[in-house]
């Protein structure tokens, strides 16, 4: 109970600073991309280039690997774009407190919003990439379907998951630099154990349960279900409860850890 109380008070605090949250995240986004001459182009270029290379290798180099008749590039984009948000938000959010010492040392500043600011700022980019994804589908002759509408649900769920993780790693990062390395390794590993350019159906049954512990499997699957497979999220009865529970646990854990460590930030920074 105490944990939940802490959690809700934490959420209330954040709700109070929602205006500041928006201003700061806009600032952060602008600062990151608008300072350079090509602006958002760079932001989009990085994931795009990566996807191009993967697409080239797998559809030109080793042909014929997917079961469906969906163009490989669309399949890839559905997997890579949410993953890109996930890894970018976590690695950026991790440094959100350490990188803003000047704010932590300020009076009455709610430090808990710093990770949110970073995640929001990455989310803006994610919206742009989703836009590109939709355009790609349209270009390949797909017509918008009602299933596309569940995209905000998946995005929101991913946002909550990422937020919880970010709170944990950002507050731990204050105390030790090792966290950056650990998270780097985990993200790299995560990239391979998440079905981004391979299909989960091809994995032998005995490894499947193990693989599905990765909550990002649900998200990536969800993006594909919305665009390609046309399956509603509530139809995924096996995986949905597991994901929701995991996300709630991560979120509550993140909030509690953050709140517990917050008083010590001033001593270390």
């Amino acid at each position: 109970m105490l944990v939940l109380k802490t959690f809700f008070r934490f959420l209330k605090d954040i709700y109070k600073s929602r205006e500041l949250l928006l201003t700061l995240s806009k600032n952060d986004f602008k600062e990151q991309f608008l300072g350079s001459y090509l602006g958002v182009f760079w932001a989009v270029l990085r994931p795009t280039l990566f996807m191009l290379i993967v697409w080239f290798i797998f559809s030109v180099g080793f042909k014929g690997h997917t079961d469906s008749d969906t163009p490989f590039v669309l399949y890839l984009m559905c997997g890579y774009i949410p993953w890109f948000f996930f890894s970018d938000a976590i690695s950026g959010g991790m440094n959100s407190i350490v990188g803003n010492k000047f704010l932590v040392k300020k009076v009455n500043f709610r430090v808990s919003i710093l990770p949110i600011v970073k995640v929001l700022s990455v989310l803006y980019l994610h919206f742009i990439l989703i836009g590109i994804l939709i355009i790609a589908f349209l270009l390949y002759g797909y017509t918008p379907s009602i299933y596309w509408l569940q995209l905000p649900f998946y995005t929101f769920m991913m946002f909550l998951l990422v937020l919880g993780i970010t709170w944990i790693v950002a507050s731990l990062r204050v105390f030790t630099k090792d966290i950056s390395q650990i998270i780097g390794v985990i993200l790299q590993l995560g990239f391979w154990v998440t079905p981004i350019f391979w299909s989960i159906e091809r994995v032998p049954e005995k490894y499947l349960t193990f693989l599905k512990l990765n909550p990002m499997v649900f998200i990536v699957d969800g993006y594909r279900n919305s665009f390609i497979n046309h399956i509603w999220f509530w139809e995924n009865t096996k995986y949905l409860p597991y994901f929701v529970i995991t996300t709630i646990i991560v979120l509550v854990l993140g909030a509690v850890i953050f709140r517990k460590l917050r008083p010590h930030f001033g001593d270390v920074l």
Partner: protein
């Protein structure tokens, strides 16, 4: 929490946990069994106090005694280990001036960001505030550059501007004024002063002056504990006393450790110097070990030499007990030749007014022959004590305090006169004005006829008559002689006020000879009746050098001299000092006071004086209130005094006032009067 209380600090302790590794902190915070991974350091120990609305609290203490920690806790940047802080209203803190700035953002962006965080979101308000801060910070074009390119001064100005512009209810300032140049400090002080009435303030500074200036109350922290809490003046006093104590203790330790004392090596050439004796003495030449401040005291030295020295010098350096070199005086610097007495002893008395502040003093007796040191030894320690309690620095220089120096009197024509408000006779110039105006006609006649180019005013007082004369003898040089040094500054002031530049002011007793020191007496009833010889012992006296008119006239060659003499009975000596000139020349006219009562007070017989004047010169009574005889030069001269009239005249003058204090003015002309 009481309504008027804005900050309430209750039993706050801050224990810094010292961890070997930063990550131990995480292990401890998250450990379910509350395992301890740290060593404790108590930065603050059970501190509580309250700040009321509009109050300013100063926190003082040495570095590392918990001041900044306390501020950070109040500001909410740090969390106290025990106790809690309640605050009411918006807090703005300048903990480290530049810590609220992000180096990558430009000055402008930083301002905007900080204002938004402080809750200014309306565009109009934001614009207004940004302009305000920009003006305060004076950064100019650099405002569009990233803050990391700023000089530290620019950063400080920007940081301070941002912190003070956010309209806080509570302003926390940590050593803000220690950075920046003098101008910046003044600017900050002005800004703080302007906000002072509306906000509560917590102020940490090492500058006791700033604390005194701003703070109502003071909290003194010592090793994290509340050592004193109370009125600012008391707190500062307490702190300074503690500091002094610590310093003394430290010094004592150091002195014990010191191998070589601060006063240098001691030495005695026993073959050449023998039978050395020395002691501190009082004004009666009795040996002392203690003296009061302002006492007259001295050092006595006696010794014998076995040979004839080339150039004997005795030096007397004095240190305080802490090794501060207070002064060093030697016979050489004063060109004082030491001579032997009839028993072949050299004896020296060194006498001085004690300027030393209370404390203990070390003195070295050093005897040197040209460059050869013969003797160097330590005199007894002199203890200076005082009945007063407050002393500052090493010595107290002789001084007087005065306030309200000047009072302006403008009651006649266009003259301005400033007088000492404490001088009873100074204010009586009002009544004198009318009768000096009568003389104006005569002065004008003298000007037209003789055009004197040198005017000498003997006994100038506040310079009033010189001012009157200067309006008539416009091109002439005015020489004023006044014995009272107190009046000198007033005369200068009055000359300036009346635009008189061609003047010379001599601070001396005008007498028969030059350069002799005489006592001059100050009449407690007013400066107009200061005399050389006072009426009784109650009059203050001071030594003043003399000057003769002869000397002044010699130095100031002119075609014609007009002299005004008014020296309260000292006139015979003034005439004596000018006699040679007066008898051998006829280019002069004198207007002098003739006051029998005052002549007697200075030891002169009025009748003899009048007789001698008549013998040598033409003596006429000036047209005034007594025996008015016309108002032109010719009518005055036609009514000149004759020898057989002396007794009657004297009688008449003396009895004109009560107590036989009658007096008149005389015009004196040379026997061979110019036409």
């Amino acid at each position: 929490m009481n309504k008027s209380t804005v900050v309430k600090v209750q039993n706050i302790s801050k224990v810094y946990k010292l961890y070997d590794k930063p990550f131990d902190r995480v292990k401890e915070a998250l450990n379910p069994f509350k395992k301890s991974y740290h060593k404790d350091f108590h930065a603050l120990d059970n501190v509580s106090f309250e700040i009321k609305r509009g109050e300013a609290l100063g926190i003082i203490g040495r570095n590392g005694n918990g001041k900044s920690t306390l501020l950070k806790i109040i500001a909410g940047v740090l969390t106290p280990t025990k106790g809690h802080v309640n605050t009411r209203g918006k807090i703005s803190a300048i903990l480290e001036l530049t810590s609220s700035l992000k180096p990558e953002l430009t000055g402008l962006e930083n301002i905007e960001l900080n204002l938004k965080i402080s809750g200014f979101t309306k565009p109009d308000e934001l614009k207004q505030k940004i302009k305000e801060i920009e003006e305060f910070a004076e950064i100019g074009e650099f405002i569009h550059q990233p803050v990391k390119t700023y000089s530290s001064g620019m950063k400080s100005r920007l940081g301070f501007g941002i912190a003070t512009s956010s309209e806080p209810d509570i302003l926390i300032l940590d050593e803000v004024l220690a950075v920046g140049d003098f101008n910046f400090q003044q600017k900050c002080l002005a800004k703080i002063n302007g906000m002072r009435d509306n906000i509560s303030m917590i102020f940490v500074s090492h500058s006791m002056n700033s604390v005194r200036l701003f703070c109502d109350n003071v909290l003194v922290l010592e090793k994290g504990k509340k050592a004193f809490y109370g009125k600012a003046d008391d707190g500062i006093k307490y702190y300074l006393e503690q500091e002094e104590k610590k310093k003394q203790e430290l010094k004592k330790k150091e002195i014990k450790k010191e191998i070589k004392p601060f006063y240098g090596d001691l030495f005695h050439n026993k073959e050449k110097v023998t039978e050395v004796e020395y002691k501190w003495i009082d004004k009666n030449y009795q040996e002392i070990s203690k003296a009061q401040t302002t006492d007259k005291l001295g050092i006595y030295i006696k010794f014998k030499l076995s040979y004839n020295p080339i150039e004997l010098v005795v030096g007397l350096p004095i240190w305080d007990i802490h090794g501060n070199y207070i002064t060093g005086i030697s016979t050489e610097m004063d060109n004082f030749k030491i001579t032997k007495n009839e028993n072949d002893y050299y004896e020296i008395y060194f006498l001085f007014d004690n300027l030393l502040n209370p404390g203990e003093y070390v003195n070295i007796i050093s005897i040197v022959d040209k460059t050869e040191v013969l003797y160097r030894n330590k005199n007894n320690i002199l203890e200076v004590y005082s009945l007063k309690s407050r002393y500052f620095g090493y010595i107290t220089i002789p001084h007087i305090w005065r306030s309200n120096l000047y009072k302006k009197i403008i009651n006649f024509k266009n003259y301005q006169l400033f007088v000492d408000v404490n001088d009873k006779s100074g204010l009586s110039y009002d009544s004198k004005s009318s009768y000096e105006e009568i003389n104006n006609k005569l002065y004008k006649e003298i000007k037209d006829k003789y055009n004197p180019d040198i005017i000498i005013d003997v006994g100038a007082n506040y310079g009033f008559i010189s001012i009157v004369l200067s309006t008539i003898f416009k091109a002439s040089k005015i020489i004023m002689i006044e014995a009272s040094s107190k009046l000198i500054e007033y005369i200068h002031c009055n000359m300036k006020a009346n635009n008189i530049t061609n003047y010379e002011l001599i601070n001396a007793i005008c007498a028969e000879i030059d350069n002799e020191e005489r006592d001059f007496s100050f009449n407690p009833n007013g400066s107009q009746d200061n005399r050389v010889i006072g009426e009784n012992n109650n009059w203050d006296t001071s030594k003043v050098a003399t000057v003769s008119l002869e000397d002044i006239i010699k130095r100031n060659k002119g075609n014609f001299y007009f002299l005004k003499i008014d020296t309260q009975g000292y006139e015979p000596n003034v005439f004596l000092g000018a006699e040679e000139f007066l008898l051998n020349n006829n280019n002069w006219i004198i207007k002098t006071e003739f006051a029998p009562y005052w002549l007697k007070s200075q030891g002169f017989e009025p009748k003899d004086f009048l007789k001698s004047l008549l013998d040598k010169y033409i003596v006429c009574e000036s047209p005034n209130r007594i025996t008015y005889k016309g108002n032109s030069l010719t009518s005055i001269i036609n009514n000149k005094l004759k020898v057989d009239e002396i007794d009657d005249f004297l009688n008449y003058i003396v009895n004109y006032n009560r107590d036989e204090r009658g007096w008149c003015d005389l015009y004196i002309f040379p026997k061979k009067i110019r036409n």
